[in-house]
Symmetry: C2
């Protein structure tokens, strides 16, 4: 049980626990014949559920018992105290560190999952804080947005790290060879954004990193899919994500109310039901389920806590794709290129400053 | 030409200039028989356009010549140099300071308009930086969101000021007696948001201001209309606004594409056209056009630069409503109540600290 792809699944996480994670894992196994799953949780609960799987699928699952399940409302500190080395969440992450699995997937509580991931996997060299990256449906297809709320108040260097990590993820998940990267900013003339965002823009423009940097983008560019990767700080990213989800639901709700208002509109909706079904599928948050923790020495995917089996299976599919691509190794290589470039630029800047000094005196 | 309501209109602002502002002003005059308009701009251009108005409307308009029009792409500093005392934008704002008009309306560039408004009207006592507040369509009706991008990086005291100003605006524009106020925050457990947002929450909870403070809200609460007033810092507010606008357009675009995919869906769309028309109206950004500058000694309303006559007329309607309500006086009263309360709390805290000291030693 090595090679690609073995996923370590926290079977006890999420609002519905095994009721969603087990059928979700089954769907993913059916989809991907190369997939193996380590299922962490209460074995007395899991074994009977697994017995219902067809034999061919069952052979690709291994149940690993965990005494403790982390609750959805537990604080990260509580979760760490109670769940260290014994919870399904911890053990699934540990399987990634030990090389037994290429990624861990959990629908458990985000705070606990991030705390344990940091504790077990540790941040990559040169990364201060991790980010959560998500797929975002756009008019052009899909884009990646990060950080969706792992870290609050990123400085310019962190934003550049997010750009590097998001770009690598876009290559793996969106299959774009040279993904474009934009920095979220505000368009109002007199302010032109936060100092750190402007500084990050300068670094991305001047550092000659192997990244296709597009420039600043605004909130409405996300829906347009103007770039493949949208980079922003976690507070703004989290609020933008939830605002968009809310707006999509709001428009769908308006539409439903209007279409059931009269017999004519109901008949119209009946005739156009294929179109409405397609629209629903396009807006389905389950399609893009699975926030990916970037910046750790290993991949952890956070599924939405309230998703169903299909949504959870999609999180496993996304985990498999980033695992296939060796995302962590790719990011590490890009980060060391950045480091070299930054050192080079620092040197050049110092020389430049020395040369500039006499000129200023002369002026 | 005193009393309510006289609006000073920058006729030269916006992408289409007089082609939108003049018919927009006309629509507003038709709507509101109590409305008078001071029309600032090139009188040689404006007078012939005005000659086409019915006489009864024409009597409620006064053209005031301005030599200079501020361009949409001018920087605030350029605009100030070139437009001070002579531009239509400047003169419209000045009419508010002089008490000739109760509010100024411009579709001109936001940066220049904010710079001139600050220069001419000055911030209210106790207000560090102004905010831009906007109406936002929700599932429950309408809410107010601020700051939409006037100021970047508000501290706790500024967020509390926004809460006070937004609450007064909700009373005037939404006609809610006791509007509820929420602070935008992220829901992720381990971070619980920016320190300044948490501090603002503490002040709003403990200061016993005459405000119905609901607590923290998240991005998806905006579409739900969970509270009447959403308070956030300008960078996040601007990105949330544009993300929502983009998402609404995206969903409408998906719907349009799907409904034109086959003859069946086209027929369905034809039968349901009343419903689709209503949906379009509900999502129409012209309905909520007009960002209101709050925190200045006078009201300035920023219309979207690319709107049409209907959108511009709506901005005038919103300006009239806040003028009718004496928004500035109401905000000033609330701010001084806050000041008193804050002083009282400061004193109490100091006393409390002294009393607590021996207890701590004893413990």
């Amino acid at each position: 049980m090595k090679d690609c792809c073995t996923l370590a699944v926290d079977a006890m996480g999420g609002d519905a626990g095994v009721g969603v994670t087990v059928p979700g894992a089954r769907m993913a196994l059916e989809r991907h014949p190369d997939l193996r799953v380590l299922l962490y949780g209460d074995s007395a609960t899991l074994k009977p559920l697994l017995a219902e799987f067809p034999r061919a699928l069952r052979q690709r699952v291994e149940v690993r018992h965990a005494d403790v399940a982390i609750r959805m409302d537990e604080k990260p500190s509580q979760a760490l105290r109670k769940g260290r080395r014994v919870s399904s969440m911890w053990l699934a992450i540990e399987a990634v560190r030990e090389g037994e699995a290429q990624a861990a997937v959990s629908a458990g509580n985000t705070g606990a999952l991030m705390a344990m991931s940091l504790f077990v996997l540790k941040p990559m060299t040169g990364i201060k804080r991790p980010a959560i990256a998500g797929l975002w449906p756009t008019m052009r297809g899909q884009s990646i947005v990060l950080d969706l709320g792992a870290t609050i108040g990123a400085d310019a260097e962190q934003l550049v790290d997010y750009a590097i990590m998001g770009e690598a993820m876009a290559r793996s998940l969106l299959h774009v060879e040279q993904p474009s990267v934009g920095l979220l900013n505000v368009g109002v003339e007199e302010i032109k954004g936060v100092e750190e965002v402007r500084r990050a823009g300068r670094i991305l423009r001047e550092a000659a990193l192997p990244i296709h940097y597009h420039g600043f983008v605004e909130g409405d560019d996300i829906a347009k899919g103007t770039v493949d990767v949208f980079v922003t700080e976690g507070f703004t990213g989290n609020i933008a994500l939830k605002t968009a989800e809310g707006t999509a639901r709001q428009v769908a709700d308006f539409l439903r109310r209007e279409l059931t208002a009269s017999w004519w509109t109901k008949l119209g909706a009946l005739l156009a039901r294929g179109a409405l079904r397609n629209l629903k599928k396009k807006l389905d948050p389950r399609e893009s389920n699975g926030g990916i923790f970037l910046g750790l020495n290993g991949i952890v995917v956070k599924s939405h806590g309230g998703t169903d089996a299909l949504g959870f299976a999609n999180a496993l599919t996304h985990a498999r794709e980033v695992a296939l691509y060796d995302l962590v190794e790719n990011i590490a290589r890009d980060l060391s290129a950045k480091k070299m470039m930054a050192d080079f630029l620092d040197t050049r800047q110092e020389n430049g400053a020395q040369q500039a000094a006499p000129a200023r005196n002369a002026g």
